[in-house]
């Protein structure tokens, strides 16, 4: 579905991604793990068009019937139109807007009112707490509720590929578990997920496959189970003993 080849990205003068390649198949959950500064967020931002790429290619094939197209030079707006929704780091909740308004903002590019309503109902069924809090100003939601709102808002754009940047950031373990259950359910509904996580244990449990980034290069990749049992990964990210 998404194929990244030899991607080089600079942020300002800093050379962040030094030629990474990865592939995501339709229906998969792929985890992207690695230490701070490895380039995880940069990868997501480059896919969604927020950062320009220096070299390399990203090609995207929304579904089987459509030809794959290159995302290089495509604007953020058009990438969202193609069905790639990016849930940014720190969630980016619109604190002054109500929960319902936040969700509607997620459907900003869509014009199919009836379907938007349908999705709204669906999202509220998936996250009942958001339905209850629809009139509440989003800034007054708890951290976990805000994390759910951020995911729900991305779903309102009817994504085919969901890019999630640290959905578990700053949340209690119990809430993290709930969020990951939701993600599994979202994936089961047919949405492909690329997940960036510090919480490698949880991420590897959910994901089918994983990539480990180290200072801008892919250090390791493979099925989650293999990655989770790799000695280096266990030592560096999972707190295991050698």
């Amino acid at each position: 579905m998404l194929k990244i080849e030899d991607l080089h990205v600079y942020r300002g003068r800093t050379y962040v991604l030094k030629g990474i390649s990865m592939e995501i198949a339709q229906g998969e959950v792929v985890a992207l793990i690695g230490a701070n500064g490895a380039g995880k967020t940069t990868t997501l931002k480059t896919i969604s068009g927020l950062l320009p790429m220096k070299q390399g290619s990203i090609s995207y094939k929304p579904d089987r019937t459509v030809q794959s197209s290159s995302l290089a030079g495509t604007g953020v707006e058009d990438i969202v139109r193609l069905g790639i929704c990016h849930c940014p780091e720190g969630r980016g909740i619109f604190a002054g807007l109500s929960t319902a308004e936040n969700l509607m903002a997620g459907a900003y590019l869509r014009r199919d009112k009836a379907a938007i309503q349908e999705d709204y109902q669906r999202v509220c069924k998936l996250f009942p707490i958001l339905g209850e809090r629809r009139k509440q100003v989003a800034g007054s939601l708890s951290g976990g509720e805000q994390a759910m709102l951020a995911i729900a808002r991305a779903l309102m754009g009817r994504p085919k590929l969901l890019l999630l940047d640290e959905p578990s950031l700053g949340l209690a373990p119990l809430v993290v578990a709930t969020i990951f259950e939701m993600l599994a359910e979202i994936n089961q509904q047919g949405i492909t997920i690329l997940l960036v996580e510090q919480n490698a244990v949880m991420a590897l449990e959910l994901a089918h496959r994983a990539y480990v980034l180290e200072t801008g290069t892919v250090a390791l990749s493979g099925p989650s189970r293999e990655i989770a049992s790799d000695d280096r990964v266990r030592k560096a990210y999972l707190g295991g003993r050698t």
Partner: protein, 338 residues
């Protein structure tokens, strides 16, 4: 979106305003009527600046410049043809021979102001941060200098006087209604939400596919259009317009109204504009009798300081009074589409 009774409330409020004007025109003298006209113009200015500054979070100080553009455009278009040849020798022939009626002249004035804002917005709004405030400050000066030096069209520093007294309370009220309606519709639409989203979190708004530059420029243009119209109304209420008519002080007055009323609240700007412009007038007799000028400004500054200390979000924050807000239906529909 709105319940039937809410719609009736809106229509009722509009009619009540009309009735008020009818009564005022019957019983009040011209001086007070012209003050009421200014109050209405301030409402247009505050609400329109709120669309730019309050909804979208752009700190624009350019309203006086847009008013000057709109005011001059409108004044030149309505200027009697007989006097045009003598006063405004620099006009091209086709313009010297045209004399428009008030409404189209106002519209064209507003459009020119919006065009001006587009020219500023396209380069400046690509940047993040407070560049717009600095740039719009510059625009006030640039517009003043241009008007002063284009003597053939604007009569330079002399300004245009003896304009026909076209503005009356009805015209002002019509545009107040248009402004309020536009602001309200905007706020509870997808477009308005995208503006608010940019104010709240640019990065997240970008992620949702909101085109930051385009939305910002559009917000600036809507504000500038209404400011241009307000400039036209102003010019034909005072019946004169000079390059110094619309100064930086005016920009601050309007910004204060928006801040006190609440950035993003239409009701807030409306009330703040009415109260502030009436207060300034109310202090005028006192100032004259004591021969101490500026009491009104001091009181306004005090109010601003108190608001900033005790209620920094302004009187209404971002919201509107609950009984006027849409989305009271029982379903989960929220504020869909509009």
């Amino acid at each position: 979106m709105y319940t039937l009774s809410q719609r009736l409330v809106f229509i009722g409020l509009a009619l009540a305003g009309g009735l008020l004007i009818l009564l005022m025109r019957q019983f009040l003298n011209d001086y007070i009527l012209s003050i009421a006209g200014f109050v209405g113009i301030y409402v247009i200015l505050a609400v329109s600046l709120n669309i730019t500054n309050g909804f979208t979070g752009l700190f624009s100080l350019g309203h006086p410049a847009f008013m000057a553009i709109g005011g001059y455009t409108c004044a030149i278009l309505t200027f009697p043809v007989q006097r045009k040849g003598y006063f405004l020798s620099g006009l091209p022939d086709w313009l010297a021979g045209t004399e428009l009626s008030f409404f189209p002249a106002l519209l064209i004035g507003g459009l020119f102001a919006a065009l001006g804002s587009l020219l500023i917005g396209l380069p400046v709004l690509r940047l993040r941060g407070h560049y717009l405030a600095v740039a719009t400050l510059g625009v006030i000066i640039i517009v003043q200098v241009l008007i002063t030096n284009m003597g053939g069209i604007t009569r330079g520093p002399l300004g245009l006087n003896g304009l026909p007294t076209l503005t009356n309370l009805w015209w002002v009220y019509l545009w107040v209604l248009i402004t309020l309606y536009l602001g309200w519709k905007l706020k509870f639409s997808s477009f308005g939400r995208s503006m608010l989203a940019i104010r709240e979190d640019e990065m997240a708004a970008d992620c949702l596919g909101i085109n930051l530059l385009r939305t910002r420029v559009q917000a600036l243009m809507v504000g500038a259009f209404l400011a241009g119209v307000a400039g036209g109304l102003w010019a034909h209420l005072v019946t004169a317009i000079t390059p110094k008519s619309f100064s930086l002080i005016l920009a601050f007055t309007i910004v204060v109204m928006v801040v006190v009323g609440g950035s993003g609240s239409i009701t807030g700007s409306l009330l703040a504009a009415v109260i502030f412009s009436m207060l300034t007038e109310a202090f005028r007799p006192l100032e004259e009798s004591l021969n101490v000028y500026g009491i009104g400004e001091i009181v306004l500054s005090l109010i601003l300081i108190l608001i900033l200390i005790y209620r920094p979000i302004g009187l209404f924050g971002t919201s509107e009074p609950g009984w006027l807000s849409p989305g009271k239906r029982k379903s989960l529909s929220g504020t869909a589409g509009d």
